[in-house]
């Protein structure tokens, strides 16, 4: 156990986390140079392209240290984006230490600070690493000062390296061995292991990634997942060395994988605690949160012919994504689609992007909605997560919406701006506590629906990126929700209907009208765009008719050219959604959903 080090690398985006991981892997000879490719841990296209890590990956390295001993280094690659804080947290829970990577030319950035707060929360031992020291713009003195002033860490303990050019990598590895603690835990106690991630393998089913806290996992052993309350027999257990290496056992403190005949990802919960069936642990590892969808949105294929493809794509995506839920819906304007549940907005984003990237789908999404509890005048209670099914205002006795407790960690100087932001987002009981000198945690109870729209972006704006945000679900509270419908040329576009707090209905409706009127092209007739509540118009915009669209000359040679142009334009029209006789381009649907942040 004293030869195990579980660690992660936390860094601002672009500060070289994946490159450093690549070098550590190479330095330990885990992959031969011919097979090596950049960002080796990032397996998804989106990850490589955006240069971010979305799904955490893990690799076990064997390192022979200067003291001559062989150490098992478990690099748990955390998502680099604080928006994935759930995944970051689970990864951090599996580590004892972290390398805090800072770019020698960029210095300490917002994400560095936000990640530091998270790491401190889990009491990780931190080793600051200054990367890219060989860049011409590198300013190690300034960065050292920032590490001291902004992070409160000792700059003299910082390791200097250039991952790109393989400078100082040995120093990093030695620091991992010397300065990070080995894991604790009791090898004799009942098994207790954190399932911090899972992958789906076509042939083997679910592959769980675990961190053993107490006890040992053995092949053939009967294990129990404590929250799921299901028993399984371990078929295979071992380390992840870029490929799975079966070992028969996984010792206390180590990180590895377990295959236990579980067929689908829905049968397990990430964050669950694995124990032994015969001798279960008394308490699971704390901090578990069930991955429950909280955000709902309908996804439609751009062209209704692609509905079958969308069905297949979602089925496949679900194999790897336990939190995704979906059921069939149909919209008058958009045809057949799926009502999907997501963990949050970023999850929605990623699902959308993966459907588009990996499955080549062209999609339309409706406005994200939370689940409302509606009590009808006849006493009946219904749950509504789709504006289309919101009852008539006359039948509604009472509506409750989910509240969250937002926890926002910021440098003190942004306190005023963040308090104001919470007020605007209908925050209640907004408080703040000093965590340390200059660092403040603001907590506020606010409707989840408010967070869905533009909270992240506005928080980033007002804190210039230095705020970290997380939330816990609270309860459902009474609210005054209305259904806003959007009419285009007097026809209701059901996919644009939304449930909004009455106070915000007009501004939201106006936003939709604005965006639609600037993204729907002019037609040869006037198009009124209206936001309505129960038939009453609360916002209105008009797209004027264009007055001129005709070719001036059309003689011998012009005719073929003109016909071909019309044929092309008619084809282009098939990519539009027709609402009545109005062509609505995909951009219009995207614009209304994405751009409230621009205000």
């Amino acid at each position: 156990m004293e030869h195990i080090r579980n660690f992660c690398i936390i860094a601002h985006i672009d500060h070289g986390k994946s490159t450093l991981a690549d070098r550590l892997i190479q330095a330990c000879g885990a992959v031969d140079d011919r097979k090596f490719r950049d960002q080796i841990l990032d397996s998804m296209d989106i990850e490589r392209e955006r240069g971010i890590t979305i799904k955490s990956n893990t690799v076990t390295l064997e390192y022979t240290a200067a003291d001559g001993e062989v150490y098992q280094l478990n690099l748990i690659d955390t998502p680099g984006h604080v928006d994935f804080s759930h995944e970051v947290r689970r990864s951090l829970m599996s580590c004892e230490g972290a390398l805090l990577l800072v770019d020698a030319s960029q210095g300490v950035e917002a994400q560095t600070v936000a990640n530091l707060y998270l790491a401190m929360e889990y009491e990780l031992e931190l080793v600051p690493v200054i990367n890219k020291i060989d860049l011409p713009a590198a300013d190690i003195d300034r960065v050292s000062e920032e590490i001291d002033a902004d992070l409160g860490l000792d700059p003299f303990e910082a390791i200097q390296c250039s991952a790109k050019n393989n400078i100082g990598i040995d120093g990093v590895l030695e620091a991992i061995v010397e300065r990070l603690p080995s894991p604790g835990g009791d090898p004799e106690a009942p098994l207790k292991a954190l399932v911090f991630d899972a992958q789906y393998d076509k042939y083997r089913g679910v592959v769980m990634l675990v961190r053993v806290e107490d006890g040992v996992i053995r092949k053939g052993q009967s294990i129990r997942l404590m929250y799921t309350e299901a028993d399984h027999v371990v078929e295979e257990v071992g380390y992840l060395k870029l490929e799975k290496v079966a070992t028969g056992t996984l010792e206390t403190g180590s990180v590895g994988y377990v295959i236990a005949g579980i067929k689908t990802i829905q049968d397990i919960n990430i964050g669950d605690t694995m124990t032994e069936t015969e001798r279960p642990a008394k308490e699971p590892i704390p901090g578990y949160r069930e991955a429950k969808p909280v955000v709902y949105s309908s996804i439609y294929p751009m062209s209704s012919e692609d509905y079958g493809d969308l069905t297949k794509a979602l089925d496949k995506l679900k194999l790897n994504d336990a939190a995704l839920t979906f059921t069939k819906v149909s919209s008058a304007a958009l045809g057949f689609g799926f009502r999907c549940g997501f963990l949050g907005l970023l999850h929605l984003d990623i699902v959308q992007e993966r459907l588009e990237r990996e499955f080549g789908m062209s999609l339309l999404l409706s406005a994200p909605t939370v689940q409302y509890d509606v009590t009808l005048t006849n006493g009946e209670e219904v749950v509504v997560d789709n504006p289309s099914f919101f009852p008539d205002a006359g039948d509604v006795e009472r509506v409750e919406e989910p509240y969250i407790k937002a926890s926002i960690m910021i440098p003190e100087k942004f306190l005023g701006a963040v308090m104001e932001l919470c007020r605007e987002q209908r925050g209640e009981k907004t408080q703040f506590d000093y965590l340390a000198v200059g660092r403040v945690e603001v907590t506020s109870e606010m409707p989840l629906a408010e967070v869905l729209f533009d909270f992240y972006d506005r928080l980033k704006t007002v804190t210039r990126g230095y705020g970290s945000f997380d939330y816990d679900a609270l309860d459902y509270r009474a609210t005054d929700i209305v259904k806003v419908d959007i009419m285009v040329n007097k026809e209701r576009v059901d996919a644009l209907s939304q449930l909004v707090h009455r106070e915000k209905a007009r501004s939201r409706a106006m936003h939709y009208c604005d965006k639609l009127s600037s993204t729907i092209p002019k037609h040869q007739f006037k198009i009124p765009i209206q936001g309505t509540i129960g038939g009453t118009i609360i916002a209105r915009k008009t797209i004027n008719a264009f007055r001129k669209d005709v070719t001036a000359k059309c003689y011998g040679g012009d005719i073929t050219r003109k016909r071909k142009l019309l044929e092309k334009q008619k084809k282009g029209k098939q990519k539009m959604k027709m609402v009545g006789s109005v062509e609505i381009p995909q951009e219009a649907f995207i614009a209304v959903l994405k751009t409230e942040k621009e205000k």
């Binding site: 040869q524 007739f525 264009f546 007055r547 001036a552 059309c554 011998g556 005719i559 073929t560």
Partner: protein, 382 residues
């Protein structure tokens, strides 16, 4: 004069004394030796033609600047056409001319050739606009040319105007139309300035040195053209063409719009017959050298299927004031346009863009957006 049931013959003369910066026709700067070589090539092309099944009742000299050719050249071209093709004796003849080429001798020559319609490239009566367009005549010269042409006794004198210039004031356009109306030619073609790829105007626009008149201003000017000419006694028989009487319409151009057969000879000229359309070499050197080798100068062609023909029929029919013959559309292409597009056509009628009376006709406001109307219609046969 012929009634117009036959085929049309188009003869292209690609030379201009200078090429206007907006022009995207097959045009080259005039040059005596090139011109002589071209006329020879054109004569050869005509000699190689022999579409026996077609009988021609209109001939159109277009360009470029046909008025740049001598009477003798024009005569020998016509004679060559008559030798190879069945051209009716009283075929209707049109010729395009630039105002600066119009003088008593030229007019007499063209009259002598039997020109029925003389089409004058006046473009504007505003000095500033003429300069912008790179024209080589003045407003006064334009007026003089029209007046003299009218006196010379052609059946139809037609005046071309261009509108929609960047920054064009409606008042200036109105003034040009009023000056034109005072001259009282029988026919007017009024084209919106279009910036085509490959022209100097297009390059200037890409460099940000040429503004574009907004779509709504263009629409305003289009409506102004139609209302002013209407008030002056001209009726629009096509998007850009106006005539005082039915007889003053361009017999030749109407063939393009109803899928009549036409044959084009000369640089880049297009031909159409039955379901086939084909076109000539657009490069002057290659056009001439191929004919010098005794080869026909074809560059390409297409065989139209029914859906392409139907789209053309709708697109061309809706450009005309007489509109679209719905029965013929159903008979020829099995397309029941009204039934397939009931809702949208009804909305066009309500908005005053179209009229349905056995035919589908666009009003002047509808003509202004004719391309969009075509795009909005479902043309799949039932």
């Amino acid at each position: 004069m012929s009634s117009g049931g036959g085929a049309g013959l188009y003869l292209h003369v690609p030379f201009c004394s200078a090429v206007c910066p907006y022009c995207d026709f097959a045009v080259v700067p005039a040059d005596a030796s090139r011109s002589a070589r071209y006329v020879q090539a054109l004569l050869t092309e005509l000699a190689l033609l022999g579409e026996e099944e077609l009988s021609f009742d209109t001939i159109y000299f277009g360009g470029g600047t046909p008025s740049a050719l001598s009477r003798a050249d024009l005569e020998s071209i016509l004679a060559a056409a008559r030798r190879s093709l069945a051209v009716e004796d009283d075929a209707w003849l049109a010729l395009e001319a630039n105002p600066e080429d119009v003088d008593a001798a030229a007019l007499e020559g063209w009259r002598g050739l039997g020109v029925n319609m003389l089409s004058l490239g006046v473009q504007s009566f505003q000095a500033e606009e003429l300069r912008f367009l790179g024209r080589r005549h003045s407003a006064a010269e334009g007026e003089r040319a029209v007046r003299e042409a009218l006196t010379a006794g052609f059946d139809i004198v037609s005046v071309d105007l261009i509108f929609g210039l960047p920054g064009q004031e409606p008042e200036n356009l109105r003034d040009s139309i009023r000056r034109l109306a005072e001259l009282d030619p029988q026919h007017v073609s009024c084209y919106q300035l279009t910036v085509h790829e490959g022209t100097p105007f297009h390059r200037r626009r890409q460099q940000g040195r040429l503004l574009e008149l907004g779509e709504s201003s263009q629409g305003e000017l289009f409506e102004l053209v139609h209302s002013e000419l209407e008030a002056a006694g001209y009726s629009a028989y096509e998007v850009s063409n106006f005539a005082k009487t039915e007889d003053a319409r361009s017999l030749h151009n109407q063939k393009y719009w109803d899928h009549s057969s036409y044959l084009g000879a000369g640089l880049a000229a297009h031909s159409f017959s039955g379901r086939r359309r084909w076109w000539n070499e657009p490069d002057l050197e290659r056009y001439c050298s191929r004919l010098e080798r005794g080869e026909r100068p074809l560059a390409g062609g297409e065989e139209l299927d029914s859906s392409e023909l139907a789209l053309e029929a709708v697109m061309l029919g809706l450009r005309r004031s007489r509109g679209l013959d719905l029965d013929r559309l159903r008979a020829d292409y099995g397309l029941n346009l009204l039934e397939r597009n009931a809702a949208i056509i009804e909305s066009y009628v309500e908005d005053g863009l179209a009229v349905v009376d056995g035919r589908l006709r666009l009003t002047p406001r509808g003509l202004a957006v004719a391309d969009a109307v075509v795009r909005s219609l479902d043309l799949d046969p039932a």
